[in-house]
């Protein structure tokens, strides 16, 4: 790269190689880096994707780090201009990419420990990166528990994958929906109703959670009630990350920049920030 012409705002081209519909509004996209290199991300990080002419937006990486592949995945809900344009793309299309950016789940801390993964709604998407990284190194971790909460059965994503996980024996899977329909036979209620069902060893359990803004305080309170310490709880927070460089100011949580200080935070580090949870 010509360092004279370097600018952190310039994306590099990546190519869409696969597109799978996950629900009415959510689609999984697999991209390939045109430079042939692996993305070299860590679980929990995000990228800024550009659909040129429409705009740029941040997306969590939903695939685990891969040393040998130059592909990575995101899963996106169609909700605005950029996500709408992304959904209109077909394999072979190119987009711009910046990143990976931000902090990640401290997997090394989780080694030898039990890990509880709490995924509310689309929160499963970034957590997949952590989940499959851990499953690939399954022997290095203790018990693994996955809790998935969705508003309605028809909004569930990665349904087959989660069913396979439940059957695999590598991980205990607990699922719930807030508003059941006739097809739903499982647990009903918000995600916190799952916590009493898992017998956790609070001193030995790390928690990773991602979900809608409203979810965190309730799940955290429930974890604390179980005796899990604040420094064993990791959350990934969403804000309007625009520049990804800690400059533009949109993603601030008090004085923290979510894009460089986060999106993954240890709860101890943000407990005192009024704008965090």
């Amino acid at each position: 790269m010509n360092t004279k012409l370097f600018s952190p705002y310039v994306p590099r081209p990546v190519t869409l190689v696969e597109k799978t519909q996950l629900s009415d509004f959510v689609t999984r996209f697999t991209f390939e880096q045109d430079n042939g290199k692996p993305l070299a991300h860590k679980p929990g990080q995000f990228v800024n994707l550009s659909v040129y002419g429409i705009g740029e937006a941040p997306f969590s990486i939903s695939s685990p780090p891969r040393r040998t592949h130059n592909t990575f995945e995101i899963a996106v809900r169609r909700i605005g201009a950029v996500t709408g344009a992304l959904h209109a793309l077909e394999p072979g299309a190119k987009v711009g990419l910046r990143g990976p950016y931000g902090s990640s789940f401290p997997v090394m801390k989780f080694v030898g420990k039990d890990v509880l993964i709490v995924a509310g709604g689309l929160g499963y998407i970034p957590l997949r990166s952590l989940l499959f990284y851990q499953l690939r190194h399954r022997d290095e971790f203790g018990r693994m528990v996955l809790m998935v909460g969705t508003r309605e059965p028809k909004e569930r994503i990665f349904v087959d994958e989660i069913a396979d996980l439940a059957k695999s024996g590598d991980i205990e899977v607990l699922e719930t929906v807030d508003m059941p329909d006739d097809t739903w036979k499982g647990n009903v209620g918000v995600i916190t109703t799952l916590l009493p069902k898992a017998e956790l060893d609070p001193g030995n359990t790390f928690v990773a959670m991602v979900g809608p803004p409203i979810m965190y305080r309730f799940v955290i309170a429930e974890c604390r009630k179980k005796g899990i310490a604040s420094d064993q709880i990791f959350v990934s927070l969403e804000r309007k990350m625009k520049c990804g460089l800690g400059k533009c100011g949109h993603c601030q949580i008090n004085e923290l920049n979510t894009c460089i200080d986060g999106p993954v935070f240890c709860y101890t580090d943000i407990e005192a920030y009024q704008e965090a949870i």
């Binding site: 012409l5 600018s7 310039v10 002419g53 740029e56 625009k242 100011g249």
Partner: protein, 348 residues
């Protein structure tokens, strides 16, 4: 530090020479009570006694709209765009120099903002000691009466037709030398400059904080739940004027547009403001600061605490621009900080 004495009669010649290689901006009166830095041209009357340039100098370093990249919609290739015209800002008051120093630190930290860095490198700052103080200003009490660095030359008017010029950089000295042989300031001239500075400082101190400015972050830490935020913010029009005129506000949005044929396009940044309703709104319409109160408090916390915690200086340099720009009369860091101090005085 080398100090030279320069006479008013030398200025037209210097300006003429400088403006051949630089865009030269100097303070001028636009209308009664409104001053700004404007492009210099022959015969322009310089407003030596301007109290504040109503538009802050950040626009020269971080323009209201600035192209960051160009892209091709077909190939998805993008290239950086750098514009860094050589420019001289003549007549920047010390509090604005402080503000620029702050932008330097914040935009150059982490992944340096190359667009800013280049513009800054091409910009010569000629500081000028104020002769009058804006009624809304309080820079003397927030540690912004002097700038220790960040200028190339520092001009102080020591008489009707004479200035001392302190050298801040080699580049500044070379520019000054373009006018011919330099005259080192005498002890008397330097004393004159000292007095001029003391005189204006005395005037500026008439309005100020009731406490030491370094206490501000600790004060704010106690005031998250103060009723003041609601009391003031209920009148906020969410217009963002305070953000626009603020010399230290640098938040920006990134947008883009494509040409008619959807072949080429540009991505640019535009000033944004944390007081605008949609500033922290994400896709799906969740707003992380939905209330005017949240946004108003955030701005004061940035000025009084967050920036301080990062760089050890207040994010407010006391220029008073927001006080004047605010239609609702609620933007007033001095008043806000003083009232919070009063509110918590029983705790001190």
């Amino acid at each position: 530090m080398t100090t030279y004495t320069v006479y008013k009669e030398q200025l037209p010649g210097l300006f003429e020479k400088w403006s051949q290689q630089h865009a030269l901006h100097v303070p001028a009166k636009l209308r009664e009570g409104f001053y700004d830095l404007v492009p210099w041209k022959k015969g322009l009357e310089i407003a030596w006694d301007f109290d504040v340039a109503y538009n802050s100098p950040k626009r020269f370093l971080l323009p209201p709209r600035e192209t960051l990249i160009t892209f091709n919609l077909k190939t998805c290739e993008a290239a950086p765009v750098f514009e860094a015209p050589p420019q001289i800002l003549f007549g920047v008051h010390p509090y604005d120099v402080k503000a620029i120093n702050q932008l330097d630190q914040l935009l150059e930290s982490g992944a340096p903002d190359q667009n800013y860095v280049r513009r800054r490198a091409a910009t010569v700052i000629m500081a000028f000691e104020p002769l009058t103080v804006s009624p809304a200003a309080f820079w003397a009490t927030v540690g912004a009466a002097t700038a220790a660095h960040g200028y190339d030359l520092y001009w102080t008017k020591i008489g009707p037709a004479a200035f001392t010029v302190e050298v801040g950089s080699v580049r500044g000295e070379e520019l000054l030398a373009m006018g011919g042989p330099l005259l080192l300031s005498t002890a008397g001239d330097k004393e004159g400059a000292r007095r001029a500075k003391a005189r204006i400082l005395f005037k500026a101190r008439r309005s100020g904080l009731r406490y030491n400015w370094e206490e501000t972050p600790r004060l704010l830490a106690k005031c998250w739940d103060s009723p003041l935020w609601r009391r003031y913010s209920q009148m906020c029009l969410a217009c963002g004027s305070c953000n626009l005129v603020c010399p230290t506000c640098y938040c920006f949005d990134i947008r883009e547009e494509a040409d008619d044929l959807l072949e080429e396009g540009i991505r640019y940044r535009e000033w944004d403001g944390c007081m605008l309703e949609s500033f922290a709104k994400v896709a799906g319409n969740h707003n992380f600061r939905p209330k005017a109160q949240d946004r108003y408090r955030h701005r004061y916390f940035r000025k009084g605490k967050y920036i301080y915690d990062k760089i050890g200086e207040l994010g407010c340099v006391g220029c008073g621009r927001c006080v004047r720009a605010c239609t609702a009369g609620i933007a007033n860091p001095l008043k806000v900080f003083n009232e919070l101090w009063e509110e918590t005085v029983h705790e001190h």
